[in-house]
Structure formats: C-alpha cells, structure tokens
C-alpha cells in the first residue's frame, strides 16, 4: 500500500533578480509501509527541499504529493500539521534535542501535540520508548551529559513515541563516528521494521545508504533510482555515489 507518493513534483524559488531557480525537477517517488529508502545527494542537490516536501512542511511548486492516497494539497494547514505529528517522525543530523530538558522530557515532546490517551500517558509512553532503546538508566540526564550516540538514541525515541508510519532521517549519523553511526542505523532499522514504519534516510554517505532496500540519488534536483549493486560498488571503492 502506498504511504507517500510524489508525482512530477517541482519546487522553485525566486532569486533576488526575480528569475526562478528550480531546485527540484519532476520528482517521482513512491514509498510504501515497511519500505526502507535511501536518498543520496551532495550538498546543494536539493535534499533539504525534498525533506521539507516529504515531511509535509512545504508545498511543491507543481506536481502532487499524496499521503495515504490523499492529496496533501487538499489538507488545511492544521490538518497537515496534525498529520505530520501523528504519522511522521523526524530524526536530524544534529539530534536537535532541546537544551535544559531531560532525555525523558525530550522524548515526551511530540506527545504534547497528541490528544486523548497519548497526551495524558505521555510520561509512561516516553519512558517505555527510552527503555526499549536502552536508555532506561538515562531518563533524567540532560543532553549535554549524554554521548553523541545516546543523544541520537533519544532523538530516535522522540521520533517514535507517537508510532509514526513514516520516519524521515536526515543525515542521522552525520555527527557520529563510524561505529556509533552503524549502531544507530541498526537500531533505527530494527525499530522501524518492528513498528512497520517506512524509513527514508537522506544521506551523503554510501555506507548508510547501503543499509536501505531501495536507493535513490538526488543530483541537481533530479531524483533517479540507483541499483543496489551500484551502491555496494561505491561502498567497496570508498567513493561517493
């Protein structure tokens, strides 16, 4: 079943001289429940813009985006925000944990925007999630007292507390060493698979991309599929995709 579908999506911005700059060109992408997709691209290739669109944070200049086979452009702003909160989980390169709040408080954050049982049981849900990813002993730790890997684990717990159907990981290992990065990706893959959520990893690292089952390369605004063989060859040759 198609969870997220992009059809001929373009995104342009206006330059100071009023000429348009096309960042994304005719993007077609389909992600289903349980998929693990990697999108590789260099800086300036349009990854952030694509992430905005995939995360329902921005609207395309042309083309259509469907979420659960529903046209996203038909959603009102509040509906779109709530859908993002309930169905999409974000993981960022710099973890983006909120300072001054404990691991538990950070993990609880998305549940503040939930309603009903999710909202009222937020502490219990966040605690369970942190325990599940091995941070049960660090609930009251401030981010600065956690290692990079632990911080990213908290970020993963935060992205999963509402049981999202789509996880968007933006350079999830970019700020970690290779070993920790591999651990984090293994964890992410495991929890995504266990929950049946689709996982889209945006990265410039061929090693991380190789962990996905479906691969794409974004180059100058054009998204093109890449074969698994090409990805593994790039990993073996230690060259960028």
């Amino acid at each position: 079943m198609s969870l997220l579908r992009l059809e001929k999506v373009t995104r342009s911005v206006e330059l100071p001289d009023e000429s348009p700059l096309e960042i994304l060109k005719g993007i077609d992408l389909e992600v289903s429940v349980g998929d693990h997709v990697s999108i590789v691209g260099r800086s300036g290739s349009g990854k952030s813009t694509l992430l905005n669109l995939l995360g329902l944070l921005d609207s395309p200049t042309s083309g259509e985006i469907y979420f659960d086979d529903e046209l996203v452009s038909g959603f009102r702003s509040g509906v779109r925000d709530r859908k993002r909160g309930s169905d999409i989980g974000f993981i960022f390169q710099q973890f983006n944990l909120l300072g001054g709040r404990t691991a538990l408080e950070n993990a609880m954050l998305p549940l503040f925007y939930a309603s009903g049982r999710e909202f009222w049981n937020r502490r219990k849900i966040a605690t369970r999630m942190l325990e599940r990813i091995g941070l049960g002993e660090r609930l009251d730790y401030m981010p600065e007292r956690l290692s990079g890997g632990e911080q990213q684990r908290v970020a993963i717990a935060r992205s999963l507390v509402r049981g999202p159907r789509l996880i968007l990981a933006d350079e999830p290992t970019g700020a970690l060493d290779i070993e920790t990065g591999a651990d984090i990706m293994a964890l992410l893959d495991e929890v995504a698979e266990a929950s049946g959520a689709a996982l889209i990893t945006i990265t410039h690292d061929a090693n991380i991309a190789a962990l996905a089952r479906t691969h794409y390369r974004l180059d100058k605004g054009v998204l093109a599929p890449v074969t698994a063989q090409a990805v593994h060859a790039a990993v073996a040759a230690e060259v960028p995709l």
Binding site: N52, G85, P110, A114
Partner: protein
C-alpha cells in the same frame, strides 16, 4: 473537545516549561517589565494622590462643591446688623431647603497653657461646618446639636494645642481656660490632626456657644461670612435668587454678594489639574514605552535562539496556532507576573513614609493607594507582554522548519 482541552493544557505546560528552563531570560524580562510597571504604577498613584490631596486640601479650605458664601455690606461702610443678617440668612436657608449651612467667623482668645498664657486663633462655626468642609478629626467627635446648649462650651483643638496642653486623654473631659473680657472654661471634645508644618495652636468653637460666653460688644463687632452647601447643578440658579431675597430683607442700602468659593468655581484649579494629569499621563506613557522597548529588545534577541526550538516543535506536529498561542502566552504570563511584582513594589514605594511625607506635604489625610493605578499597572504589563510576544510569535509562525532546524 478532547483536542481543545489537551491543546490548552499542553500549551500551558509548554509555556511553564519554557519559563522554567529559560530562567535567566525570563528574569531579565521580569526585571525590565517589573521596573517599568512599578514606575508607571507609582507615577499614576502619586499623581492621583497628589490630585486627591489637592482636592481635599481645597475642600478643607474653601468647602465642598458647591459652597456659596454670602457677604453683605453697605456703600457707606456702615456695618450690617448681625441680627438682621442672621435672620435673612436663616430665612433663605429655610426657603430654599438648604440642608447644610454655617457661619464662619474668627476670634482671638488668650489661652492658659501649663507654660503660660498664649494668644490662640479660634474659628467660630456652626454644626454643619464639619460636613461642609470635610473636617478630619484625629480623636473625638465633631460638634452635635446638643453641644449648642452646653454650659461649658465644647471646643475642638488642633494637635499642636493639645500637645501644648499636655496631651490629656479626651475620656477625662479635659478643659481649657479661654481668657478675655470674660473667662470661659471650655471642654475639649475632639482634636484635629496637625501636619508637621502646623505648629501653631488653633481651636474651633460653636458660634452660638461663643456668643453666649463673650460680651455683647464683641458679638456685635463680629462679621462672619455665611456659607451654604448646595448641589452644584443648582448653584447657578440659586445665586441671583439668594442675592435678591437677602437684599430685599436687609434693606435697599445693603448690597448682598453671593458667590461660589469652592475649588470647582475657580477655572484655574481645573486647568492646573489638567496640566498635572497631562504631565503624569505623558510621564507614565514614556515610562511604559521604555519598559516595552526593553522587553521587545530582549524578545528580539531571544527570538533567534527560539527559532530552532520552534522548528523542532513544528516538525513534531505543533500547529501554527499552537506555536503562536504558546509563545504569546509565555510572554503574557511572564509580564503578568512582572506586573504584579511591579505593583507590589510601587505600593511599597508610594506608601513608604519618605514618599508620603514628600507627596502629602501639608495634607493630613493622605488618600489610600489608588486601585486604579494598580489595575492600570497590571493591564499595562499584560498589554506590553502581548505586544512584545506578538513579534516573536509572528516570527515563530513563519519559521521555515527545516531551515530553522539546520540553522
């Protein structure tokens, strides 16, 4: 319904969490706003106290509005008969159903103090005078009708005179000897407060009691003024009628003058009060603008660091409305608390003896701290909070989430 409830509660928890975490920034905002509100409230309160003090002072000296003073004189300079004047005045009071009226005269008496005999100024009034001139008493009760017939006249003395007499307890019915052509022993029934500048002994006696106690020659020489307290809206109509009636009763050679003497009849008073209010208002607005600028400044500085946090919240499902509400509420809650602190500080400042002495110079009955000033202070704080919160809230709503997160 459940979503609204959880949204509201969630926003409150969020705002509280923000305030708790950003203690330093909140404290800075609190200090700036609290100082501005304290200054604003204090200025408004002091202005109102000064205004009230002026009004009360004016009412004590020239009576409450509308106070009509009636004088009668002859072109030849011959004194008008006191008896005839009193009869004409009493007839007018009765005819126009005036509720409060009084004579107002002065005498000099020599008083026996423990330290010797001293000349003391005395005022001669009727019972109604106390109400008409808002006379305040530090102890005892103002004259009553029964005091008119006392054998030993009742007298009210000021604190300076009472202290000079050795501060006797009123319960002991202390007496004072007033010497003159006749010697009178008067009973002190009340004490008027004296300000720190009012060091001369003074006394007040009922006109009728004084008439009985003194010589006919002195009574005849007394030319008191005659006062009526009438509703202000009636005064314009009443003045020509009083002149006509009393002149008719006193004879063709007597000229009667009836004029309002209260502060409202003096245009300059209103003008000076308007200038005072304008200055106070201008000062208050200036203080508030400075406070608001300080807060906006802090808000602008912090908005940059908050953009990232807001971006994160948006990415996890916070709607634009929720972010706007939370940021605004955080600002308003903080400034409301600052407002309360500011008002408390203002009350402490305004009610401090040092400030009270400076503001209420010469005024015995300083008015209480005006509730209006406190309300204005808190409303101003909340208003400033809303205005200062609006800018970051608008910025927060317009945040481009991924840009903010990668910022």
């Amino acid at each position: 319904m459940s979503r609204i409830l959880t949204g509201l509660w969630g926003a409150i928890l969020e705002a509280w969490s923000e305030l708790r975490i950003h203690k330093t920034r909140v404290l800075l905002s609190l200090i700036g706003v609290a100082v501005a509100v304290a200054a604003l409230t204090a200025v408004v309160a002091l202005g109102q106290i000064a205004y009230q003090a002026q009004v009360e002072s004016a009412e004590r000296s020239s009576g409450r509005p509308a106070m009509v003073a009636i004088y009668a004189y002859t072109e030849s300079g011959e004194p008008v008969s006191g008896e005839a004047m009193e009869t004409a005045f009493d007839t007018a009071v009765e005819r126009y159903a005036v509720e409060y009226s009084s004579r107002n005269g002065y005498f000099d008496g020599r008083v026996q103090f423990p330290t010797g005999v001293e000349q003391v100024g005395g005022q001669l009034v009727d019972v109604d005078f106390g109400t008409m001139h808002r006379v305040e008493l530090a102890q005892g009760e103002w004259f009553t009708d029964r005091d008119e017939n006392r054998l030993a006249p009742a007298v009210i003395v000021n604190e300076a005179m009472w202290e000079k007499l050795g501060s006797p307890a009123l319960a002991t019915h202390p007496t004072v000897k007033v010497l003159g052509d006749t010697e009178t022993t008067a009973v002190i029934v009340a004490i008027t407060p004296s300000s720190q500048f009012d060091t001369y002994p003074q006394m007040i006696m009922l006109y009728s009691a004084w008439q009985r106690a003194t010589t006919p020659a002195l009574v005849a020489s007394q030319q008191p003024s005659y006062e009526m307290w009438v509703p202000p809206e009636m005064s314009e109509e009443l003045l020509p009628l009083l002149k006509r009636d009393m002149a008719g009763a006193l004879g063709s050679d007597v000229i009667v003058d009836a004029t309002r003497q209260d502060y409202l009849a003096w245009e300059g008073f209103e003008q000076s009060m308007q200038i005072l209010q304008l200055l106070i208002g201008g000062g208050s607005v200036l203080v508030l603008v400075l406070g608001a600028l300080g807060l906006v400044n802090i808000s602008l500085v912090t908005v940059r660091q908050r953009i990232r946090e807001i971006g994160i919240r948006r990415s996890f499902g916070a709607t634009a409305g929720r972010v706007f509400f939370a940021v605004m509420m955080e600002s308003i809650v903080a400034t409301a608390v600052a407002g309360v602190v500011g008002v408390i500080v203002a009350v402490l400042i305004v009610k401090s003896p040092l400030v009270q002495d400076a503001v209420s110079q010469g005024v015995v009955d300083a008015p209480p701290f005006p509730a209006e000033a406190a309300i204005i202070g808190i409303l101003a704080a909340v208003g400033v909070g809303a205005l200062a919160g609006l800018l970051p809230a608008l910025v927060a709503v317009r945040v481009k989430v991924i840009d903010a997160i990668r910022y």
